[in-house]
Every structure is written in C-alpha cells, then in structure tokens.
C-alpha cells in the first residue's frame, strides 16, 4: 500500500481538507492524523466506533523521595532545563522536566526516582472512509514526533484491503514533521498564495528533499492572489517538483466541511478541483 503525506509548513492552508477529500475519493483508506498537538482530521471523516485505545509513554519524569532528600541542591545544579527548584527539599517542575535523568545519576542520597510519564493517548477508530489512527499529545509534552512515529508504525501494520494510506501532517518543519514524512511514497505540500505561504512551503520542501522524497505542490485558495499562485507554480517547476494544480477558494465548501461533510462530496468548483488533484497524485505514486 502506498503512503501519501500531506504537509504545508504554514498552518491553516488546508491540509485536513485535502486529506479528508482524498479519503472520500479512495473510499477505503487508512488515515493517520499526525498533528497530535492540534488534531482535527477525525472531526471531518465521520469517526465512529473506537477499536483500540492506548496510552503513550516514551519518556520519564524525575520525582523526589522527600524522606531521602537533604536539600543539597546538586540536582538543580546539573539540570539543564531549570526544572528543579529548592524549597528545603528539591521540587521538580514536571512541565519543564525532560526526563534526562542527570539528577538521578548525580544525587548522592539516591533520592531521585525516574518514573514513566504519560505523554499522550492514541486511538484506532472506524470512520466513514476506512480506519483512522489519531493521537493527542498531553499538553506541554515534548516529543510529539515519537507519538507520530508510533501512530505511523501501527497504521503500517494494519491488515486488510485498503486502497491508500493518507497522513495529515502537522504544521512547521520540526520533529513531528520529520516523523510524519518518514517512509512517505509521495509528499503533497498544500501551499497558499501568500508571501508567508511561499516562504513556509520553501522550507518544508527543503525538509522533504533532505530526505530524498518525491514532492508535489498544490496551491489552495489560489484565487486569493493569482500573481502569487503563478509565482508558486514557476518556483515548483523550476525546482523540479510536481505541479499538482490549484484549488479555488469556495466558501460554501468550507461551511460544508464545518458541518462534517467532505467538500469533495458537495457540488462546485472546489469539489471538481479536488478530484483532479487526487487523480494527479495517484498518477505519481
């Protein structure tokens, strides 16, 4: 089964719109929402019965055994994350603690205990177009890329007769984006025709090329600024990337999505453009 990963660099350009539409057109797909800090895909694909629920723990947190702590402060000295304060005994700021265990190895009284921490939760659920794998990072947790990697690995092992694996990526270019891109057969970059959209698309394309991945670019809300759309197209061609075309701005389709129907199922310009986009992507994988 082939895997498509949809990213954008900039947030709010329409990644989830594209993923939900591809899912509807595939009919029977595996969906992965790799934005675990602001997960939205389940809201528009008719997520239903939950088949699996898991807690995700991939790091530790330092706890102080106050009966052993003498308040010497060595732990606070070695902590690079300013996560330990002294108030008679050592006190750990759990949001700041990265679980590196420097304090654990330093404490002369053996008063530091490293305990597993729950970094997030993830689910496998049925949805209108197949299965959805989605997760949610606990607020403030650091390693969202690891949760994304867990989701993708589990999704990859899923058996059954599915057409396509579609990964809705997070914004940015950092660790969860790297995790989302790993193993992609084709990367779809959803750009918007703004100076920010162009700037951010360039950076995320840089990341995908760093990994030697095949990249196609489409422009959403293309009619917002036709000049900028043309500029983006020229840049795509000049970079040797696959030009996937334009999606028009269609307010009716957006309100359809807000009510839980996929825009591709509605009539109109956007639906037609999404079908063309899907066909082009399928041709390239």
């Amino acid at each position: 089964m082939k895997e498509i990963v949809v990213v954008s660099g900039k947030g709010g350009t329409g990644k989830t719109l594209v993923c939900a539409s591809f899912a509807a057109l595939a009919g029977n797909a595996i969906l992965v929402d790799a934005d675990v800090e602001a997960p939205n895909l389940r809201l528009v694909v008719g997520a239903g019965r939950v088949l699996e629920e898991h807690t995700h723990s991939d790091s530790e947190v330092a706890r102080i055994d106050t009966s052993l702590c003498k308040g010497c402060g060595r732990c606070a000295e070695v902590c690079r994350f300013e996560a330990v304060a002294l108030d008679g005994v050592a006190v750990v700021d759990e949001l700041a603690c990265e679980g590196c265990a420097a304090c654990f190895y330093t404490c002369p009284e053996k008063a530091v205990v490293m305990e597993p921490r729950i970094n997030g939760r993830w689910w496998v659920a049925e949805c209108r177009y197949g299965l959805i794998f989605h997760g949610r990072l606990e607020v403030g947790e650091g390693l969202s890329g690891k949760l994304v990697a867990v989701l993708k690995e589990r999704a990859r092992k899923q058996e059954g007769n599915y057409q396509l694996r579609i990964v809705d990526g997070p914004p940015g270019i950092g660790c969860p984006v790297l995790a989302a891109l790993t193993g992609a057969d084709f990367v779809v970059v959803v750009a918007e025709p703004t100076l920010s959209g162009l700037h951010d698309a360039e950076r995320v394309v840089g990341v995908a090329q760093h990994f030697g991945l095949k990249v196609g670019v489409c422009v959403n809300k293309a009619d917002l600024n036709p000049d900028m759309t043309a500029k983006l197209r020229d840049w795509v061609v000049q970079k040797g990337l696959v030009w996937l075309g334009e999606l028009p701005f269609d307010e009716a389709a957006y309100s359809a999505m807000a009510n839980g129907t996929s825009p591709v199922e509605s009539e109109g310009r956007l639906a037609a453009a999404l079908r063309t986009l899907h066909r082009k992507v399928i041709e390239h994988i």
Partner: protein, 295 residues
C-alpha cells in the same frame, strides 16, 4: 509586560494580529517584537524590519575522546533520548536526538565525554520604523532539517529582558515549543477562528494556559465566517473573555497575501488594536495586584 500571541491551530491569524497590535501601539510604547515561531517565522514578511545583525544559535553535543573511552556502554544506557550507540571500538552520536543534558558526561567513569558546538539556527535582530519610534525586532529561525525548536526559542528568551514591553508571536500547537514560549508571558492572547477546528484547538491551547497559571484572553478572527455565537459560548465555558472580534473580509486577506498588515488594509481599525493593548495592560495590572494581595 510580555504578551504572547498563540493559537493551538495554525493559520488562525496569530501573526496578522501580532503585527497589527505592534504597529498600533509601537508609536505609543517602547516595544520589542519577537517572532518565536522559529520553524516558520513570518512576522518579518508583514513588518518589513531592517535587519542590523544576525547571530548563530548553537547547541552542545558530546564529543567522545576515543583514546580515553573504554567502550563500556554506560553513556548509551543512561541516555534517555537514544542519542548514543556504543560499538566495540567507536561511539556513534545521533546528534538530532541529543538534548544536551550532559547525563552521558555524568555517568562516564573514564572522563571521555567532552563537548562541541553544533549550529542549529539563527537569530536576526533589527528594527521596524514607525512614525515616532522604532520597534525593536527579534526573530529566531530553525535550520531546515533540524528537529528541536526549543534551543532557538531559549536563545531568543535570553535576549528578552523585561526592560520594555514585548510582543511575542508563538508557533502553533500545544507542545514543548509553545510551552517554552508561553512561560515568558504576563498575558497570552489566543487567536482563534469560529470553526470546529478552531474551537477544538482553542480548547487545547486554553488547557496549556491553565496548566501554566497564566492570564489570557481571546481574539476571534474571521468572526463572520463560521459560528461566532457558538465560539463565544465555548470561550465563556473555558473561563476566558473575548477581547476583540475581526470580520472576514476578502480584501484584507488579499493584502496579507502581498505582505501588508491588517492596518495597511484597514487603517480605521487602529483604535481597536490600541484598545486591545490597553485592555490587556489593565488585565495584567489587575492580576499582578491580586497576586500581591494574595501573598
């Protein structure tokens, strides 16, 4: 005071609101603007700062002295980030995974762990000219291919003393980069849109604010675009106030696409943003007074 503009969901208008707020009050108060969305810094596109200096951001990573190393493997076992692998006659470092915590140095009995610098990003400094004053401008930029944004955000924070009012444009999400940025704040301004996505993600951002015990308020952007009444109800349920609502207008979006600020397109909205700033200032003052009384 330090105001951090955040959102949860991307693309709701953080940078648009932050830039308009800066332009609206930059004449009146001594202001510093920090673009802390280091993965995708965009504020410069709207504010057109004159960049006067740039410096590099480095992280420290271990450098193993192979002559001293006994290849016992203790460092790799202690490393919680799996950044080290010890082979029979060499040590491999996966530098992207390293958090610079120095645990490997602490556990190494041979004293074989030294340190070297690795370049991960840049800080650009400059200023934005307003009619009366200059807004100081600072931007962090993570290098393409790097995984961890926090070292660049930390470098920005080191340069953000509280000698003047500061406005910080944050990255989307609710993960470590956002928390690291929010920790600076006297006030978090959450920008949302009245869609299901916006509301879902605002809930998560509000949870982050609550966990950090910060003062916060909400701007509803594109209020004419979705279910604004529903958004207001949810925001009240979250225990937050709506401080400003902005309508969706196509020509404003077009101006943004060309690198113009909201106030270029709608100069008449300047007073609303000035009002927003003083509203925030009052809320921060009130919270500080309450905090003092409490103590």
């Amino acid at each position: 005071m330090i105001v951090v503009v955040a959102s949860g969901k991307g693309g709701t208008g953080k940078t648009t609101v932050a830039a308009a707020l800066a332009i609206a009050v930059g004449d009146r108060v001594r202001l510093r603007f920090i673009d802390a969305d280091v993965e995708e810094p965009n504020a410069a596109i709207l504010l057109h700062p004159l960049i006067t200096s740039e410096d590099d951001v480095y992280v420290e990573v271990p450098k193993i002295d192979e002559k001293r190393c006994s290849h016992c493997g203790e460092c790799a076992r202690a490393c919680r980030f799996n950044a080290l692998a010890v082979l029979p006659d060499s040590v491999m470092l996966f530098e992207q995974l390293c958090h610079s915590c120095r645990t490997c140095e602490i556990v190494c009995e041979e004293g074989a762990v030294g340190w070297e610098r690795r370049l991960v990003g840049r800080i650009r400094r400059g200023f934005v000219e307003t009619s009366w004053r200059r807004i100081e401008f600072l931007e962090g930029r993570l290098n393409v291919g790097e995984a961890r944004a926090t070292p660049v955000i930390e470098a920005l924070k080191e340069r953000a003393s509280d000698e003047c009012d500061t406005l910080v444009d944050c990255s989307p999400g609710t993960g470590c980069a956002v928390i690291e940025t929010m920790r600076l704040a006297d006030f978090v301004l959450l920008v949302t849109e009245p869609t299901r996505f916006g509301m879902n993600d605002l809930g998560m951002a509000a949870e982050a604010v609550k966990r950090l015990g910060l003062e916060a308020g909400v701007v509803i952007n594109r209020a004419t675009y979705g279910d604004a009444a529903g958004a207001r109800r949810l925001i009240t349920r979250l225990g937050l106030d709506v401080l400003l609502e902005l309508p969706y207008e196509a020509d404003v979006a077009k101006a943004y696409s060309r690198g113009k600020t909201l106030l270029d397109a709608r100069p008449q909205w300047r007073e609303r943003f000035e009002g927003l700033w003083w509203d925030i200032a009052r809320r921060v003052a009130r919270a500080k007074a309450a905090h003092r009384r409490h103590r």
